[in-house]
Each structure stands twice: as C-alpha cells, then as structure tokens.
C-alpha cells in the first residue's frame, strides 16, 4: 500500500515536467511580441523616429527585465527554477506577483466548486440509486429524460437565460446579476449577509453543477444496474432480505467504486467551466482572472494559471487513486504486481 502511494507520487514528477513544457511552449511560441502588449497601443500609433527609438529602447528594457532575450531552453529552465522556489513571476499588467493575484481570488472559486461538489454528490447519487432500483418505472424514465436534457444543456445558455429572465427588471428580478455581494453588504445583519451571499451564489453554483450532476447521476444509475445483475445480489434476495437492504447495503458499496474515480474528471471540468461561469456572472474568481489574463496576453499569469490548475487536478487524481485503493484493495495489489 505504502509502496503504491510512493510510486504514484513519483510518477507525477514527469507528468508535471511535461505539463510545464506544454504550457511554456504554447505561451512562448506565440506569434507577436509580449513586450508590445506591455507597451500598449502606443507602439503602433506613434510613427516619428524619436518615439520609435524610445519604444525600441523600452522594448529592449522589458525584454531584459522579463528574460525574453535569452534562448528558449534557458528561459524554460529559469522559469522552472523560479517556480520551484515558489516564484511564478510578476504580472505583465500591474507588475504584482501572479501568485498573490491568484491566491486572493482562489477562495471564491473554491467556494463555488466545493458547494457544487456537495450539491452534485448529495443529490445525484440518491437519484441514480433510486432510478436503478426502480428501473423502467415512471420516475426512472422521467428522470432519465430530464438528466439527458440537463447533460446536453450548454451551461452558458442556461446562465444567459437566467441573467436575462431572472436577474432582469424587464422580466423577473429575483437574483442579483453580478458579483458575490451587494453594495450595502456591510450594513446588513448577519442573517441578511448570509442571505445576500446565498442569492449571489445560488445561480453560479447550480448552473456550474448541471452537467456534472447529470453525468454523475447517469453513471451512478448504470453502475448500480451493473451490480444489481450480479449473482451475490440474487443470493441476498434469495435469503429473504428486504429490497431496501439489498440495494442500500449490498449493492451500494460496490456500485460506488467507479463513482469515486469520476471526482478526478469533474475537477478539471469545473476549473475550465469556472472561466465561463465567472465571466458571465462577473464573479472575481480565478476563472475570470484567467479570462482577463488571456485578453491582456499576460503570459506569466496565463502560465501560472495553467500550471496551477493542472497541479490541482494532479493532486485530485492522486487523492482519488489512493482513496480508490482503500475502497477496492484489488487495485493496489494488481498495480503492484504489474
């Protein structure tokens, strides 16, 4: 068991190296000069020689400053070296350390992700179990259809519909359009503040859960159906156990195993989805930061976000793997043998 965990952790070192290389290449092989971005539009507008010379000099200065004058492999090694010391560089835009910028926005995104996660697992799993246990019943068929529709609904469409129809004085105004708290937040009572947060987070959380929710519920149902067909369930029924006990006690445990692995896949989907949801609802999280960074071509920030979100995903997968080998000891055993 210990060997398995250590082996998995060691395997992540090459993974992280390749991720950083892909990130680096995507950002550094880009056409166009990031220093031009730094100098803004002025570089194009001014045509006189003196000013051209000035921008040239400024360009050289920034090139030196950000290490862009060195050959690519050197740049990569310097970047990697700095990252290993916890220095992800400074933003091109306001020259603040990118790590600070990311960390001050992380709590909001994490709150939305964790709330969505809880929502998804708390509702999707019971629905999946119920559907499977009553296969082909009316409720099963209805939920299957609804879940299928939810699964195919583009979240940015649902978000747009919500903004247009539920946050709009022209139609119905229930929820606030943007941000995470109202302007008069400080003057509210504790309960009022809680309610304010609830209203602001309700739409982003539910909408970012939709697809994963439907996916997980469908997976739970099919996993349960698979288990229910097995011989030991027939045995359990044959010895006279109630259907409730058969499903919740005997079938549930084994049918949950494949569901655990899905956590690893939902995490990157959520980080990707946060770009859309946070942009639509103007939520100051890392998704919106990433969107802004891409618009500004703020390379240090883009690279840091790509690396960090991959890193988070890697840790997620690692935890899932370890959890998995606890739940199903056969996994660690066969992997060790192989």
């Amino acid at each position: 068991m210990k060997d398995y965990v250590i082996k998995r952790i060691l395997l992540f070192i090459p993974t992280l190296i390749i991720i950083t290389m892909i990130t680096f290449l995507v950002c550094r092989l880009a056409p166009g000069d990031p220093t031009e971005m730094k100098l803004g539009q002025t570089g194009e507008a001014q045509k006189t020689d003196a000013k051209n010379l000035m921008t040239e000099q400024a360009k050289e200065f920034y090139k030196k400053k950000f290490g862009l004058d060195k050959p690519l492999p050197m740049q990569y090694l310097i970047w990697m070296g700095n990252m290993l010391q916890g220095d992800f560089g400074n933003s091109f835009k306001d020259n603040r350390p990118v790590l600070d910028k990311i960390f001050e926005r992380l709590p909001v995104t994490m709150t939305i992700s964790i709330l969505s996660f809880m929502l998804i697992y708390m509702i999707a799993i019971p629905i999946g179990i119920y559907s499977a246990a009553r296969q082909y019943s009316f409720i099963d068929r209805t939920t299957t259809v609804i879940l299928f529709i939810l699964y195919s609904l583009p979240n940015f469409w649902v978000a747009t519909l919500a903004i247009v129809f539920l946050c709009n004085v022209e139609y119905i105004k229930i929820f606030p359009t943007s941000g995470i708290r109202s302007e008069d937040f400080d003057s509210l009572s504790t309960f009022g503040q809680f309610k304010d947060y609830f209203m602001h987070f309700f739409l982003p959380v539910t909408i970012s859960s939709l697809a994963s929710f439907a996916f997980l519920s469908r997976q739970m149902r099919s996993s349960m159906l698979e288990v229910i067909r097995q011989d030991y369930i027939r045995t359990a029924r044959a010895k006279g156990l109630s259907e409730r006990k058969v499903v919740l006690k005997h079938a549930l445990r084994n049918s949950l195993i494949p569901i655990i692995t899905l956590i690893g896949g939902i995490l990157p989907a959520m980080i990707g989805g946060s770009v859309i949801i946070e942009t639509i609802f103007s939520i100051p999280g890392i998704g919106q930061l990433a969107f802004q960074a891409i618009l500004d071509r703020d390379y240090p920030l883009i690279m840091a976000e790509l690396v960090l979100s991959s890193f988070l995903t890697v840790i997620g997968i690692l935890l899932v793997d370890i959890l998995y080998s606890f739940v199903d000891p056969r996994i660690a055993f066969t992997k060790k043998a192989a």
Partner: protein
C-alpha cells in the same frame, strides 16, 4: 488414366465451388449478423432516428445557407435583363463569370423598394447574415425579421442559418482530428503493449490533467481565431478518451485467433493494425465519434460566446447568444441561438446513445 484425371478435376472443381459457396455464405451471414443487426437495432430507437433526420436537415441548411438567406434575390429581372444574383455570386467567386461593374454593388433591396425590378424572387429569409438593417435594430420577431434582429439590426434567423456552417464544420472536423489521433495512438498502445503502451498511456494521463477548455481559449486567443485553429485546438486536446477506448478494444481483439493467423502469414504490424485490428474494434469508436461532435460543437459555441470565435464579422450561434447579455429585453436573442446549440448537441448525443445501445450485445433479444 483419363478417367482418373477427369474424376480428380471434377472433385477439385466441386471442392472449389463448395468452398467458395460456403465462404460466400459465411460472408453474407457475418454481414447480416453484425452491421445489419446494428442498423436494425438503431432503427428501432425512435429518438435516435429523429435525431438522425434533424442532423440531415441541419446539414442541408448549412449546405444551402446562401439560397435560404441572402441580401440578394434568387431571381430578378431588371431593365429587361434576367439575373440570378445568388448563383452569380458563386460563379463570380469561382472566377467563371464576372458581375458587370455597374451591377456588382447593386442594392437590390432599394431597387425593389423603388419598384424598379420587373419581377423578383427573394430567398425565404430576405436578409444576409451580415446585412445591417439599422432602422430595425433590436426588433422582436415581426414582419420579415422572423426571429427578430440584434443590436445592429442583423437578422437573427439569417445568422442562425449561416451560423450552422461554422458549428457543423467545426463539429465534424474537430471530432475527426480527435478520432484520428485517438485511433492511431490507442491502437498502437493496445497492439504493441509494453513500453509503447506505457509511454502513450502516460501521455494520455498527462493530457487529461490539462485544463482543456482553458488551454483551447489560450491557444485560440494567442494564435489567432481562424476556424482552422479552433478545429485544431479542439481536436488536439480532446482525443484522450478515444485513445483509451480504442486501446481497450484492441486489447480485446489482439489475442483472437485471426490476428495470430495474420501474424503467422507474415503481415507487418502496421498491416495487421489497420486492416485487421481496427476494423474489428471500430464499433465503439463510432459512438464516441458522435459524442465528440456534440462536444466540439459545444466548445466552439462557448468559444464564440466568450468572444474568441471565428472572427468578429462571422456570425455564429455562440456570438449571437453572447449579444443577449448586452440587450436587456431581447428575449429572442437569449432563446433562439441557445436553442440551436442545444438541438445540435442533443441530437448528436442521442445518436451516440442510440449507436451505443445498438452495438451493445447485452441489450439484444
């Protein structure tokens, strides 16, 4: 002596005939027992069949978009001359025949309004997707703006019709790229096993940890938002599932006797993979292909929704939906473009599900 030879000949020919007949029969049976069974099973699935018709319909719209919605008439006669402006545009672009200089920029609408055209037949939607009708900006569905207009007066239905081209072509080609990479890498991993397998699967795992959507936006934003970059960016980041699937199928097929037989005859690894392994492992790939198209359409729509779409002047479903955010009471902009994206995604997902059920032998009676 002669009799004996004759007998031998006869026996030989009988044997040959018998064999070929048997072979033909077995070939026929294989055909009947697999693909036609799948087809039969698929046809029983009503939702999947309806989806199939919808997809055909969408493809038809995409192909004939210029004849369904255009700022020029299909047919007009003006000053005694007969014109087919829509067709003429095609010929003009192909260099086959040229517009006469005084007619190339003719404003047909104005001519029609001033009753200068002797006879005219407009396209069913008499607006082009980029045609700006400022007098009717943000108009709700009315008159000949069947689904209303956007903030600068472009007809919504015309935009949806022409937008289907971008959505469907990105869907097909991006999914095609993903499938191709997935099939090649997956079958190599499955067939060769060992170190090749280990390397490829490590690479798949690494690709899966990358935040795909974020990476696609980055690539499209940095390298320019041409439709080819979008297709490539989606294709190159979404092949991992296909690779894993194919690998699994190949592992199943690899140890079958006919592969051993092909090996013993001396076929090369490449020949065996492409001519014997892949055709027998391809069925589940069709399923994932259908889902991949749905995914690619969704991603492209999300990209243009966020403003990283094909180009500022090209109208797509995503870019139309995006306009709903700026127009507070334009319900038509919020509903119809999203509905189109949803329909396209749902139909491909339903086809995928239908195929999967049709291919799953456990469900067969």
């Amino acid at each position: 002596m002669e009799e004996k030879e004759e007998l031998l000949d006869k026996m030989n020919s009988e044997l040959k005939d018998g064999l070929t007949k048997e072979q033909m029969d077995s070939k026929k049976q294989v055909g009947v027992s697999y693909w036609s069974l799948v087809k039969h099973q698929f046809k029983k699935n009503k939702l999947a069949m309806v989806s199939m018709y919808i997809v055909v319909f969408l493809v038809f719209i995409a192909l004939t978009a210029d004849f369904l919605s255009s700022s020029k008439p299909l047919y007009a006669s003006y000053k005694g001359e007969t014109y087919f402006p829509v067709i003429k545009d095609y010929l003009n672009d192909l260099g086959i025949s040229k517009w006469s200089p005084d007619m190339i920029n003719a404003n047909w609408k104005q001519l029609d309004n001033e009753n200068k055209l002797e006879s005219v037949v407009w396209t069913p939607v008499p607006y082009g997707s980029r045609e700006i009708d400022l007098k009717n900006s943000l108009s709700p569905p009315r008159g000949d703006h069947y689904l209303g207009t956007d903030a600068i007066g472009r007809d919504l239905l015309a935009g949806l019709i022409h937008g289907s081209r971008v959505s469907l072509s990105v869907g097909f080609i991006a999914a095609g790229i993903a499938l191709l990479i997935g099939i090649v890498l997956g079958s190599m991993a499955g067939y060769y096993g060992g170190k090749v397998d280990l390397l490829i699967m490590r690479f798949v795992e690494i690709m899966m940890t990358l935040p795909t959507f974020f990476l696609i936006i980055t690539i499209v934003a940095i390298y320019g938002s041409s439709i080819w970059y979008i297709m490539a960016a989606i294709g190159f980041t979404s092949w991992t599932g296909d690779a894993k699937l194919i690998r699994g199928e190949v592992l199943k097929v690899r140890n079958m006797e006919y592969i051993t037989a092909a090996n013993s005859i001396g076929f090369s690894g490449k020949q065996i993979i492409f001519r014997h392994v892949i055709p027998n492992a391809i069925a589940p790939v069709l399923v994932s292909g259908a889902f991949a198209i749905a995914g690619a359409i969704l991603t492209e729509a999300a990209l243009s929704f966020l403003g990283f779409g094909v180009s500022a002047t090209t109208v797509t479903w995503g870019s139309l939906l995006n306009e709903a955010r700026g127009a507070s009471n334009a319900w038509w902009l919020a509903i119809f473009p999203g509905l189109m994206i949803f329909i396209a995604v749902v139909t491909y997902n339903l086809i995928g599900e239908g195929l999967r059920d049709a291919l799953d032998p456990r469900l067969r009676d």
